[in-house]
Symmetry: C2
Subunit: 559 residues, 2 copies
Amino acid sequence: MSAVQSDIEIARAATKKPIIEIGAKLGIPAEELAPYGHDKAKVSADFIASLADRPNGKLILVTAISPTPAGEGKTTTTVGLGDGLNRIGKKAIVCVREPSLGPCFGVKGGAAGGGYAQVIPMEDINLHFTGDFHAITSAHNLLAAMIDNHIYWGNEQNIDTRRITWRRVMDMNDRALRQVVTSLGGPSNGFPRESGFDITVASEVMAILCLAEDLADLERRLGEIVIGYRVDRSPVFARDLKAHQAMTVLLKNAMQPNLVQTLENNPAFVHGGPFANIAHGCNSVIATKTALKLGDYVVTEAGFGADLGAEKFFDIKCRKAGLMPDAAVIVATVRALKMNGGIKKEDLSAENVQALVRGAANLGRHIANVRKFGVPVVVAINHFTSDTGAEIEALKDYAARHGADAIVCRHWADGSAGAAELAEKVVELAESGQAKFQPLYPDNLPLMDKIEIVASKIYHAAEVTADKGVRDQLKAWEEQGYGNLPVCMAKTQYSFSTDPNLRGAPEGHVVHVREVRLSAGAGFVVAITGEIMTMPGLPRSPSAERIRLNETGEVEGLF
Amino acid sequence: MSAVQSDIEIARAATKKPIIEIGAKLGIPAEELAPYGHDKAKVSADFIASLADRPNGKLILVTAISPTPAGEGKTTTTVGLGDGLNRIGKKAIVCVREPSLGPCFGVKGGAAGGGYAQVIPMEDINLHFTGDFHAITSAHNLLAAMIDNHIYWGNEQNIDTRRITWRRVMDMNDRALRQVVTSLGGPSNGFPRESGFDITVASEVMAILCLAEDLADLERRLGEIVIGYRVDRSPVFARDLKAHQAMTVLLKNAMQPNLVQTLENNPAFVHGGPFANIAHGCNSVIATKTALKLGDYVVTEAGFGADLGAEKFFDIKCRKAGLMPDAAVIVATVRALKMNGGIKKEDLSAENVQALVRGAANLGRHIANVRKFGVPVVVAINHFTSDTGAEIEALKDYAARHGADAIVCRHWADGSAGAAELAEKVVELAESGQAKFQPLYPDNLPLMDKIEIVASKIYHAAEVTADKGVRDQLKAWEEQGYGNLPVCMAKTQYSFSTDPNLRGAPEGHVVHVREVRLSAGAGFVVAITGEIMTMPGLPRSPSAERIRLNETGEVEGLF
């Protein structure tokens, strides 16, 4: 990469346009935009409702190979492709997730793209932004307070206090809150019980907001949340506690998509950010659908590698929202593939075609997997200066043999010019009519069958194991009417298997389902394989120690 | 009162002006306002800094008699007086506190004035507003996470985990969080310890934000926070954990005053809202000072009755910020004074001049107290339709005998027209040059002497008692250099005494100081007399059960 400026220096040097102008390019009247400062705005619900009869643009998913510490640049490629499409004359809109505040104070690194492919204002996007996550935190914790308050005042619903599944949330990396005992201190503080906090992005409210079609759907889904079980084991819903409507009031503004811009002044919606393990890891349906009404092309991304992110994007988000993706881009780097081929991080700069081809098996499997959903694929080679010509050629050859063109992209260094070729290829694919999207499995299979289909077809596992308790729980939910839900797999992102050290394209492994959780409001059943972290901790020397305002009032240390 | 519309109906029927126009009336250029929607904006730090050399307008405090369930209408009078001053040709700005989100879901009732004397948009102001309280919550909890993280990674500072005074906060009424045990679940979650949550408005970060002059002062004060003590009993500061700079980053926008408007399109700053018990209960210094540079008159209020609110406004806010108040308005109602005279709430509508005069002793004492600070006083009689002519006359006579004019106000029903006479009187007082403001006690007295002075001069107590532990703690803080701080009294607001049932003007009572707390960053020592609630609970049937969006997307049930 030729650029020598840091991401934040590039972002600060950008010429931002007033957000009203960005909205005007999309035909959004100024009065339908609620500004947050001069460079961020929310699109009104009324305006979104007025778009219903318009045709949809093309929907492009950006996904990636299995992640490695070498990095792939999925968000960067999403932004770069959006700018590239605009460069070649398409009205394209980028749709990405909002980053979580908490982790910004842990390990250095924001989440708004990089180099010359960023969404701005990056400091705001990485800090409070338009307050969406705070609203989600408030709505989630209001329900929690109402649960304990209900019990305090007599527990009319007969809630089994040992079987409350609704925890509290905070947008902070705080391991001390993972497991707590609450209501200590005597009768006036309630009945002591075990509970804990998750990070806000792991809240089911976040997943619900990201899957809801509008405020009415949001309210209905919030009412469907199962907060725990009665003494007779029947589920207790948020609506039983009359909490869902007040929660909706708290989420009224958070539900509206946030409009910002790329460094090249193209429109971007940054809205919603559910965890990609316990939830589906995609930006909001309402942002994606609004963008499809306003643009020729919508470029969006999904969390982790394609085995998790793309699968959930297709099987949860697209299935439930009725979205029809037209093409997928799988981001790969020569370095990450070499790492998948067994090379250590410190040796990645040396040419090694053999390791590259060995690691490319990971890419090959992701290509084949995405095609199983009926979606045509192009590979984006996110270029690093250490990549050699021989490596690039070998990678292109490999991809071609697996049915996908691979295009070298230099958007990090060159912005839209570096992604123009990829944009041309994406347009060619999307307009070819090749896409025949279908989810991996039908709604009406037993839940365990759905898990097995994902494990065999996507992960290439030989077997799925689960304890009787897990199987019984799935059956109980089927009897309660939840059998038609899709499954949301929680698995390590580093491998197709449940062993993070098994890189490349492992075969014949066993997937053990350790635990299952019901997200009745979001509309999926989470199948947990291996450890799942819903509240991160801070490292020994958190980046918070170095984050500060400089002499001119700019934020330092966040990136 | 003649109006029949509800507060929310009146607010919705108001003709709001774009906030840019409200700012323009004050000479704030549009680019120096960061809009939040079309009706709220933050004033930029650069613009505020540019005002330094301008002369100050007149500062008017609105305070009240001891509160009763009958209500006095302090915020309503503050807003009405602001509108009244504008009506008679003064450029007046209202400065009030931001309401807390949590309590909105408990007992019905927002906090943005009432009738034809409101600040708008009242739904937004009562919900997330511009996110200030969420930012304070994040900053507070980042420090908490960094404390436990520091201990987790080896406790280099040798913090005594039994002597950590920094708790966590949430903007929610949630009694279950008052007392908790954290870090349960094994080694990866840290070291279990007792802790708890306060409501966000009780956070020292809130008090700091409201007393800081600018971002540099904010950062310095955040660094001064004492989070607990080492094993050797020496204080551990937030700066020892390198947390204060990242906290400042989180508070960068929250520090800027929020501009909104009254129903009559006059400017109002709604900024900051510290608890009036554990903190000083006044809006932010930065908002008040900015308003003084931009207006001829600034009308502000302080929490609870004058024994608490006005005393802290004078002895903490004015003392530390160098503010010189020009006049004070004491709000009283015939009904509340009759209640102070021993009448039950259900009997308040019947004329009872005797009870009124008996209860007016409460008003008389507040008048005398405020005058001890060298500030001239006018009484505002907030008019109710049940008030009789005889009662009004008796009240005016009583006030006159105690050295203050009493003006009947009808701003609730009539807006500025109903407060014009009060406005004229306030101008007369403020421009008379009578004000010779001085705090009640000098900085250099021992802390216990300061408590005794407030108790004797303001509360008319005979004696202050305190255990040896409390006295030793005060001495220890004096030795550590905190002896020059003012004291922040935490006392029931319902009585001059510490017994909430002692209405009127009790004499010769004993004030027992149960506990003292150091707010080293905010710059005061809290003296707690009686119970103090820093995390409220929800009632049996919380208003959250009735808060909802109606068919047209408006919020119902919040007011």
